[in-house]
């Protein structure tokens, strides 16, 4: 749990990253939010047997990671954390859908395997885009952008609290598990009895803690509005950012670039 806490749930590191300074960081949160949403919609809109057409889409996360100076390793780790869920969703496809689609040498590749990998690639692309958005913008600014785009405030505030709760929860869980581990000597796993009590206590403690945090917020005049110090602006930079990326997404969506390139190369060779 301690390792989990440190390595995997270290989501708040994204807030540290979002405090960075690059042209991408300075971009209006709305521009980044809209682009990310359109990216996700485009990726998800492909049919379930798509593989090669996804290739150009990796350009988007790669470009943002590089120019935003985000440690790629961090994002990759976080994306891998989500991978098991995608695997769970797609794991039965190869078993159920056994029609052979194509051969690689002597190996038969079924529709099921293709759709399985398609799901995984979709999840890699969408999750990394979302994580990069937060790393470049900060969660609060993303929420502010949602409000500016007309999402009802109560929903956004819920989202914001959910995000804060997450840290509170992992924090408490980490400390409790450390205390448990130090007194349970050789047994590394938890007995069911201990586990149920652990979870119950965690809930109560978390509620308490959340209440104290809420009190601290109220003490400083919180009334349902989170204000941001980052100024929100709208310039040609924002428009061109959205326009360039969205037209690229459209291009990648309408034309299968790798196949076109392949045809071109084989055509030249012939």
């Amino acid at each position: 749990m301690n390792n989990i806490g440190r390595n995997y749930f270290d989501i708040n590191y994204m807030d540290t990253l979002s405090a960075g300074d690059s042209p991408l960081h300075r971009l209006d949160p709305r521009a980044k939010l809209i682009t990310t949403l359109l990216f996700i919609v485009t990726v998800v809109s492909f049919d379930k047997y798509t593989l090669s057409a996804f290739l150009p889409f990796f350009l988007y996360p790669a470009a943002l990671i590089t120019s935003g100076k985000i440690p790629a390793r961090y994002i990759i780790n976080k994306v891998l954390l989500v991978c098991p869920f995608a695997i769970l969703i797609g794991i039965f496809n190869p078993i159920i859908d056994t029609q052979i689609l194509f051969h690689i040498g002597n190996m038969e590749v079924s529709d099921g395997w293709v759709s399985f990998f398609s799901i995984i690639i979709k999840s890699l692309l969408t999750v990394s885009a979302a994580l990069i958005l937060i790393s470049l913008t900060g969660f609060n600014a993303v929420c502010e952008a949602l409000i500016k785009l007309g999402i009802p405030r109560p929903f956004v505030i819920q989202l914001l609290f959910f995000y804060r709760y997450l840290f509170v929860l992992t924090d408490e869980a980490q400390r409790m598990d450390r205390a448990r581990a130090l007194r349970s000597f050789n047994t590394s796993s938890m007995k069911l009895y201990t586990f149920s009590s652990f979870i119950g206590h965690l809930l109560l403690r978390t509620l308490d803690r959340a209440e104290r945090i809420y009190l601290a917020m109220c003490s400083r005049g919180f009334n349902g509005h989170i204000h941001m110090t980052k100024t929100i602006k709208n310039t040609w930079k924002e428009f061109s950012f959205v326009a360039v990326w969205v037209s690229l997404f459209l291009l990648f969506r309408l034309y299968n670039i790798p196949v076109l390139l392949g045809d071109l190369v084989t055509g030249v060779v012939k």
Partner: protein
């Protein structure tokens, strides 16, 4: 009308699970006074503090801030007047950067951006934490967190400062720095603490709570001489009023421990 008065009139509070928090607390604190609130664990110190900014509302009796009782209707004014520094700084710091966190209160007051930035800068300078402004709060040390937590409250320019155990879990130097800092504040101060030496440094008056009641209220230096009173409240005399463990004397003149030994 003065905002700086804190008055409790026969405060009673019982928690929903039946735990009795307060049973008849009465006191009046006037402009610029600095009060130490002492008592054993569970004596009702934190419960009492929660009443000063209306987080808890008395079951019976009333808490008055300035000239008005604390009710659900004037919470906004009350919370602007009373700045509360929590015992656990982690509860207080929740924004992505120190700057955002200190700006949280002033922003909620609806101040102009320039004014917010000015207040944040001033508050951070006052507590000596300007260099931390871009850091995320959860990466700071305990002492730094405490300073920033105090800055978050100062930025709201409250009239009354309420603090729960401000010196707990600080190293001796950070503790001394904090005491020096608090000495410079002109606010009305209510400080709940077990650190009686700090109480002697900062507070001319002390209120002793025991089982939800005020058992003593008077000049700090006098109350702390009363061994029976302190003993009953699970406290002991401030170190400087105890006999020197080496030579067995108490330096009466300076009221400090005898420090110079051959």
């Amino acid at each position: 009308m003065s905002h700086h008065i804190v008055e409790a009139r026969d405060l009673h509070y019982t928690y929903s699970d039946g735990t009795i928090g307060l049973q008849g607390v009465t006191f009046r604190i006037t402009h610029g006074e600095s009060i130490a609130l002492v008592g054993e664990n569970g004596a009702g110190k934190s419960t009492l503090l929660m009443h000063t900014n209306g987080y808890l509302l008395a079951s019976r009796g009333e808490m008055r801030i300035g000239d008005a009782p604390v009710t659900t209707h004037n919470l906004n004014i009350i919370r602007r007047t009373v700045g509360m520094v929590f015992q656990n700084s982690d509860d207080q710091l929740f924004m992505p950067t120190v700057f955002d966190d200190v700006a949280f209160g002033p922003m909620n007051l609806g101040l102009e951006k320039a004014e917010v930035e000015k207040r944040v800068r001033e508050a951070l300078t006052t507590v000596g934490a300007s260099h931390l402004s871009k850091r995320p709060p959860y990466r700071l040390s305990q002492g730094e967190k405490r300073s920033v937590a105090i800055a978050t409250v100062l930025a709201m320019s409250p009239d009354i400062l309420v603090m729960d155990e401000p010196t707990s879990s600080l190293d001796p130097t950070s503790r001394l720095n904090l005491i020096k800092l608090l000495k410079t504040f002109r606010h009305t101060k209510i400080i709940a603490t077990h650190d009686l030496d700090m109480a002697m440094d900062l507070c001319e008056r002390t209120i002793v709570l025991h089982e939800g009641r005020v058992v003593a209220d008077g000049p700090t230096a006098e109350l702390f001489k009363d061994t029976t009173l302190l003993h009953r409240s699970n406290l002991e005399k401030p170190l400087r009023m105890q006999q020197c463990p080496v030579c067995g004397t108490v330096d009466k003149l300076n009221n400090t421990n005898h420090r110079s030994h051959p």
